[in-house]
């Protein structure tokens, strides 16, 4: 595809993340570091998963079974990673609070914690977009474009960009929900993120069926919007109920 189209596709998938990055994350160096580390962790999880599953995807069949298994295990693994990230974050929070004591500044505000969670989630989202989407795009510059036979309405890259955008949103905001759930012990929040991730992964399986993407992708966006709305509601609730105390 042409450079203009390629740039457009990349911005479609990563545009909101870019604006979020410039507006929120690049202002605070620590958030950039959080983003980079969570991207790295996601990459490592992807490498571990591919080590296990590489053999299976050489089957060119459109069978549901191996793919479903792949998604199941991958989502489970990545949710375990999320728990691990939470542990790491708790440790980091203690260190930061101790540091704040030493330089006699206040402890981390609640908005700080949420921003760190946002940066972590965005790391996951950006890693998804980059490894699942952008890395396929860049070798394809030049004349002609690529269509998938199961979803022939749009070029492959456009469909993929749309799916990537949904996933970026899901990853980014479910991390905020998950961290808030872990810190408050709210069961609903804690199970929300894995449930959403799992559902989203399974929904992409509909793309294996012919013309399945017509159903699958709008549903995927439904999930992304639910995640966004839930996150917004939860953040609003937390901020207003803690209005007096910022910790």
């Amino acid at each position: 595809m042409t450079v203009a189209a390629g740039t457009g596709y990349v911005l479609l998938a990563l545009g909101p993340s870019l604006s979020l990055f410039i507006a929120v994350i690049s202002q605070k160096p620590f958030l950039v570091l959080t983003l980079l580390s969570s991207t790295l962790l996601w990459l490592m999880s992807l490498i571990a998963l591919s080590e296990i599953w590489r053999a299976f995807l050489s089957f060119k069949t459109g069978l549901l079974c191996p793919y479903a298994l792949v998604i199941l295990t991958s989502v489970a693994f990545q949710e375990a990673l999320r728990l691990f990230l939470w542990r790491l974050y708790k440790r980091m929070e203690q260190i930061l609070d101790a540091f704040a004591d030493r330089v006699s500044k206040p402890h981390l505000f609640i908005t700080d914690r949420m921003q760190i969670a946002l940066a972590g989630g965005m790391g996951h989202g950006v890693a998804h977009a980059v490894f699942f989407y952008v890395s396929l795009l860049t070798p394809a510059f030049g004349p002609a474009t690529y269509y998938v036979e199961k979803c022939p309405q749009m070029p492959f890259f456009l469909v993929s960009a749309i799916v990537a955008l949904a996933f970026v949103t899901i990853h980014t905001f479910s991390m905020v929900i998950a961290f808030s759930g872990y810190s408050e012990g709210n069961r609903m929040d804690q199970y929300f993120a894995p449930a959403v991730h799992f559902t989203a992964g399974m929904l992409t399986l509909t793309n294996l069926a012919s013309r399945g993407c017509v159903i699958g992708i709008p549903l995927l966006y439904g999930i992304a919007i639910i995640t966004l709305g839930y996150c917004g509601k939860m953040v609003w609730k937390r901020l207003t109920e803690n209005r007096g105390t910022l910790h």
Binding site: P29, L33, T39, S58, L96, A100, L136, V159, T204, L208
Partner: protein, 445 residues
């Protein structure tokens, strides 16, 4: 006292080093991908003979074992050459041929900008069919070279110009090194990482001796070093090296708040991170933080009253500093590069410590070899580039944290190169089939 959150200022110095490294890598990848695309130029294979392939010129038709042997031979010869040149440098420095070293470095930077830089510019012009005539090109090149050479060595030039020209230097040399054949590149990178480890940490290592010599004479090495001086505002209160304090806070937390345990060596860890020429006392950005050996509560009071005095600027307490060294001139005749990241030391005053928010120094060789790794990864596919970029950045971060803990010169290559090479091969062999297979079927998670 400002009530801003600590989140606003932590990690600034790490970002100050990671940004130029990222920019350098990005531009090298861009250059390699658009201009030196191997699929386009594989037929017209201009195998340049550099110091890195003196012994064995790789060609795609050799067998695997032949390539491996040849690459290892090349790498050994390269490392031997570098060791010899480093010892030569050490000898010259020991016998105080400092001026010679200075002039030689200036000359080599000039050659890099003019000769190697112009060849890259010409390839860019050819690739994109830019209409420019020879006279304009020479004038522009001349301007650019002179400005670059002057800004890299002088202290009167704005720091951003100096930093940008350092990055351009790194890009030029890295783009040249990326043209080495594939097997040779990987083996040379690994060999250099091992060499760096040995040269900086082993007792007889040339770089270690060099650093000790320089610090004992209280001088700076005539070398190419990137300094990431942060832009410190007027009202900067609590600032960096927050990295050192952060690490101590982490360590100190484990020793449960008792007086002796809590006295985790804040004093030793607060230090002058940066280059200090004796002439640079006019740089006034620093602050005073008092450190006591007591527990943190009493510290708080002392810090308060000291802070009132920070309005005026006081001259720096005399420093003894170490600096990174790197002399790098790649190219046809000779090439050598040493690299470390390192922090300077400063002696303590009674109960008071002066801290200079200068940032961290990173040798140019580090820039170059990180970018070579990423550039070589770019010649395969961009997925490997992203993976290697993340690996190198995290290796750099680990090295910086180690630096805050270890407080002496550390080699910056080994961890990053090891991670980078590992991630490259893992991505290329394992991850790519998996991910491409999944996403071309629109199955994602």
């Amino acid at each position: 006292m400002s009530t801003g959150s600590i989140l606003e200022t932590i990690g600034q110095e790490i970002i100050g080093v990671m940004s130029p490294v990222s920019i350098c890598m990005f531009l090298v990848v861009l250059l390699v991908y658009t201009v030196y695309n191997p699929s386009a130029t594989s037929s017209a294979a201009t195998t340049i003979r550099t110091a890195a392939n003196l012994v064995y010129l790789e060609s795609p038709s050799d067998s695997t074992s032949q390539k491996l042997e040849g690459a290892i031979l090349n790498a050994v010869v390269f490392v031997v050459i570098i060791t010899l040149v480093t010892f030569l440098l050490l000898l010259l420095y020991y016998y105080r041929f400092t001026n010679f070293l200075l002039y030689y470095t200036r000359f080599s930077v000039f050659m890099i900008f003019s000769a190697m830089g112009s060849s890259i510019l010409i390839s860019i012009i050819q690739r994109f069919n830019i209409p420019i005539d020879a006279v304009t090109f020479y004038v522009l090149l001349f301007n650019f070279t002179i400005l670059g050479t002057i800004s890299v060595f002088s202290n009167g030039v704005p720091i951003i110009v100096k930093q940008s020209n350092m990055v351009v230097l790194g890009i030029i040399v890295a783009a040249w090194f990326s043209r080495l054949p594939e097997w040779t590149t990987w083996v040379v990178l690994v060999a250099l990482a091992l060499y760096d480890l040995a040269a900086v940490l082993a007792p007889g290592g040339p770089l270690k001796l060099l650093v000790e010599l320089a610090s004992s004479r209280d001088e700076e090495l005539p070398a190419l070093v990137y300094e990431s001086r942060p832009n410190v505002g007027r009202n900067s209160r609590v600032r960096d090296s927050s990295l050192g304090m952060l690490v101590t806070a982490g360590i100190g937390m484990n020793s449960d708040n008792n007086d002796n345990g809590g006295a985790v060596e804040l004093q030793e860890l607060l230090r002058n991170v940066g280059s200090d020429d004796v002439n640079e006392t006019r740089e006034r950005a620093h602050m005073v933080i008092e450190v006591g050996q007591n527990e943190r509560r009493t510290n708080r009071d002392e810090i308060e009253e000291v802070r009132e005095d920070v309005g005026e600027t006081s001259p720096l307490i005399g420093d003894s500093y170490n600096s990174v060294n790197d002399v790098s001139s790649g190219g046809v005749e000779n090439s050598n590069g040493e690299n470390r990241a390192l922090q300077g030391n400063e002696r303590d005053a009674v109960g008071m410590e002066e801290m200079n928010s200068r940032g961290i120094k990173l040798g140019m060789g580090d820039f170059i070899f990180y970018s070579v790794l990423v550039g070589r990864a770019a010649m395969y596919d961009l997925m490997t580039v992203y993976a290697c970029y993340l690996a190198i950045i995290s290796g750099l971060g680990c090295t910086l944290i180690l630096l805050a803990v270890c407080r002496h010169a550390l080699p910056a290559l080994p961890i990053s190169i090891a991670l980078g090479v590992m991630f490259y091969f893992l991505t290329r062999l394992l991850m790519e089939p998996f991910v491409v297979g999944a996403s071309t079927n629109l199955v994602m998670f």
